[in-house]
Point group: C2
Chain length 473, copies 2
């Protein structure tokens, strides 16, 4: 065969394969774009409802920004161009360039800044909004790092000013959420960046080095004091200063009240004093809201992000012995910042916010066995179909049960009852109900509880009460 | 000045402008990526809850697929490459090509096909899933056409077979949803494609022309019989055949029972008879579920999409005089298809599904004044702050009211009470509560109802009951 005929031959067999459906397409999700199983997704939806309900119970309004923003705006607010995804049409046509120059959002904060800039005159400040949804980052694919993941954010934005007491609302909301999610005991750890930067200045750290020391402090829990000291020394921080800082932050072992009392006696300049005053005010508010037992003041908390300027939060699950679950890291973090959107608005818009990295957190909790998905199906009841002749009765019964506020689905395939029970069992539907000749005659239904194997016949007139009783078991 | 110095001068002033914050960035959303106002978004979230709750109440499981799939898979299932958006990194690096070759989903159906292919062995059939979320299409920007929009889909997928009675579940669910959404009277119009294609064949329409006639039928309501006849004649359809088809579909004016009786007497081949039998079975099931009063059998309904093979649905709002609101078009559509994912699985997977185009529908309803967003804030109560001295009491009160299941937010800025009332009023928060010296002394709170201007003082011990009473007004 000549090269041409080989080529043509190969092409032909290729098309035959397609025609015969024999070309195996790779149906896997793209790398870094994970997917939950139905049972895991059911947990995620349950979490989203609790999170959303709690945000709304505290007066936060939903804001959904587009997935896509103008590229230059995302970059202007510090987006990392190396991780930024842009949107292009597969076949870009010259006659319609309105599709280019747009990039996918990588968080909810920059879109919030743009939203406030777009709608400044229509918004009412302080502006309290929540955003729940996916963000995209072109990161290197690795375990626990996703390229698309859901984040749940709230922020309170002031116009010009924003009382520091708003900072106290954040831990209060975190606590409401994680108490309802009931994944175990937890603490919200709070600090104030002004306390740290003020103290650093007082021990001779130069302004240009403060970020280095903050990062070192952030690494302390993960890497330990020896490694962090070594790094800081290498970066030109004096040994004495490092010792003083470690000695100061070690205060964190004490009770919240002792920490605040001790801080009040330290003289370390105006910025420090301001931080102490703010932290005291935030803690006093948390006591008034009676959530202080979940709160730990911790001078180690720095939060890596550049833009936090005051209060900072981290949330940690506790191990059985009361120590912090460090493997999991912070499950909800945030803080106070001075500048949301000056680059877009020319206005001072201070804010405070928190974020739950939902996708990543759930993957970690599933992996660690802390959350175990139990059921795929939301149905409490399956109305089975034993006999096609009683299909109308089965459909009527399903509609009736649903009208009592019970989630119910119909099985409509002509399969044996055993198969229908197996279907329910696999999906985690607790109850199967059958209606056939006998049941119609006696105005009753046959119920099988798949959790226990228990079977009984129940009269229709007592079914609503009985069904709710059985489901509550 | 030389050209070089002019250039340098321009560059300098450009950077100065940036430094002075004087460069106006265009903060608008990209064309075709719209955004709701807070009050509109509140409606959208309310709708999503009702839709999601109803899907779950009927046993549908949540499935969330990634926004991104492999490009070749989207094209294999009929994605239009001209409208397809692909994802690229802004700076694509040669060392990590795992970011290329992926495109954004343009509907929920193709991702469902891929999801089923990916998880075939773990899934339980019939597989009932819902998906709610954004899809993206690189369409030409025009009024009412968006490049990103939310769709709410449910589908039931059978492995090998799927009883036609499942088709009846779809109108039943549509009816549950739109009764709860309460946007006015509506009907679900139902037809079966086999009735149409069978009848077309019986009047001599060739197989290759059936799609043309179906499209003509779809256009009938919009364009009228004269225009459609002209088009069909131009496409080579005989005048007699067209007359017979119009005469046949005009049966739709009769009652559902009369239509089914008439259809039973028409002899038009096996495919036609199968369609009549299926439509009768679906309608009988809808009667058993007692939702037939919302159902209209309509032989005009064809649905443009190629892949529908049996039952098809459209949903329409009714005008005050009981006629169909044609300006709005179908608010929820769907149908039965034979092949979900054969190209990915090599298996027969018939299904039936419906979709609500949420974003487009809401924009239309807002525009037409059929849905009027009333409130931006979810809060029922604002706890105001008249006097900083009583901040702890205000915070405690807010937490207490929230514990009664009432949505409540705190106002924490040191502003005059009038400003705080104005804030509530603008956001649509009905009640403001103040606690000051007098109230603490008398164990009471001061309440202002911003809807009526009514003010009263209420004792703390009766507040939970009183508050719920006032809010129910």
């Amino acid at each position: 065969m000549t090269e041409d005929t080989i080529h043509s031959h190969l092409l032909k067999s290729f098309f035959c394969c397609i025609l015969l459906g024999m070309v195996k397409l790779n149906v896997a999700t793209p790398s870094g774009f994970p997917e939950f199983s139905p049972a895991q997704e059911a947990v995620k939806q349950h979490w989203i409802r609790i999170i959303q309900d709690t945000f709304e119970a505290n007066g936060f309004m939903p804001v959904t920004t587009p997935l896509v923003e103008r590229q230059e705006n995302l970059i202007a607010k510090g987006g990392n161009p190396k991780e930024m995804y842009v949107l292009k049409r597969l076949h870009d046509q010259e006659d319609d360039m309105s599709h280019s120059g747009n990039a996918l959002r990588f968080d909810h904060t920059v879109p919030l800044a743009l939203y406030v800039a777009r709608n400044f005159n229509e918004l009412t400040f302080p502006f309290k909004r929540y955003s729940i949804g996916p963000v995209l980052r072109g990161e290197r694919a690795q375990k626990g790092r996703f390229r698309q993941f859901d984040q749940c954010d709230i922020d309170i934005i002031g116009s010009g000013d924003l009382s520091v007491v708003n900072d106290a609302l954040m831990p209060a909301i975190i606590i409401q959420i994680f108490e309802k999610l009931a994944i175990g005991d937890f603490v919200v750890r709070i600090n104030n960046r002004k306390i740290l930067t003020g103290f650093f200045q007082s021990v001779g750290i130069e302004a240009g080095q403060i970020k280095t020391v903050l990062d070192g402090l952030d690494d302390l829990e993960k890497k330990g004091p020896v490694a962090v000291t070594k790094t800081l020394l290498e970066q030109g921080i004096g040994e004495k200063a490092i010792q003083k800082i470690f000695h100061f932050t070690a205060l964190s072992g004490e009770s919240n009240e002792t920490i605040l009392q001790s801080l009040a006696t330290v003289k370390a300049g105006d910025v420090f004093a301001e931080g102490v005053s703010e932290l005291t005010e935030v803690y006093t508010a948390l006591r008034a809201m009676k959530v202080d037992r979940r709160v730990v003041l911790d001078l180690h908390i720095a939060r890596g992000l550049d833009y936090y300027t005051g209060t900072v939060f981290e949330t940690n699950l506790l191990n059985a012995d009361g120590t912090i679950n460090r493997a999991l890291g912070s499950i909800c973090s945030g803080g106070r910042y001075d500048d949301l959107a000056e680059v877009f608005t020319g206005k001072k818009l201070p804010g405070v916010g928190i974020s739950i990295g939902l996708t990543r957190l759930l993957f970690q909790l599933f992996d660690a066995g802390i959350v175990v998905p139990r059921r795929s199906s939301p149905s409490d009841v399956l109305v089975a179909l034993q006999d096609q002749a009683y299909l109308p009765q089965a459909l009527e019964l399903g509609a009736l049960i649903r009208s009592w506020g019970i989630t119910v689905e119909q099985y409509l395939e002509p399969k044996k009852l055993g198969k229908q029970f197996a279907y329910s069992d696999k999906l985690g539907i607790p109850l199967c109900i059958v209606v056939g000749e006998n049941e119609v005659k006696t105005q009753s239904v046959y119920i099988k509880d798949l959790r226990t194997g228990h079977q009984e016949t129940i009269r229709l007139d007592v079914l609503p009460v009985k069904l709710k009783e059985i489901l509550q078991k």
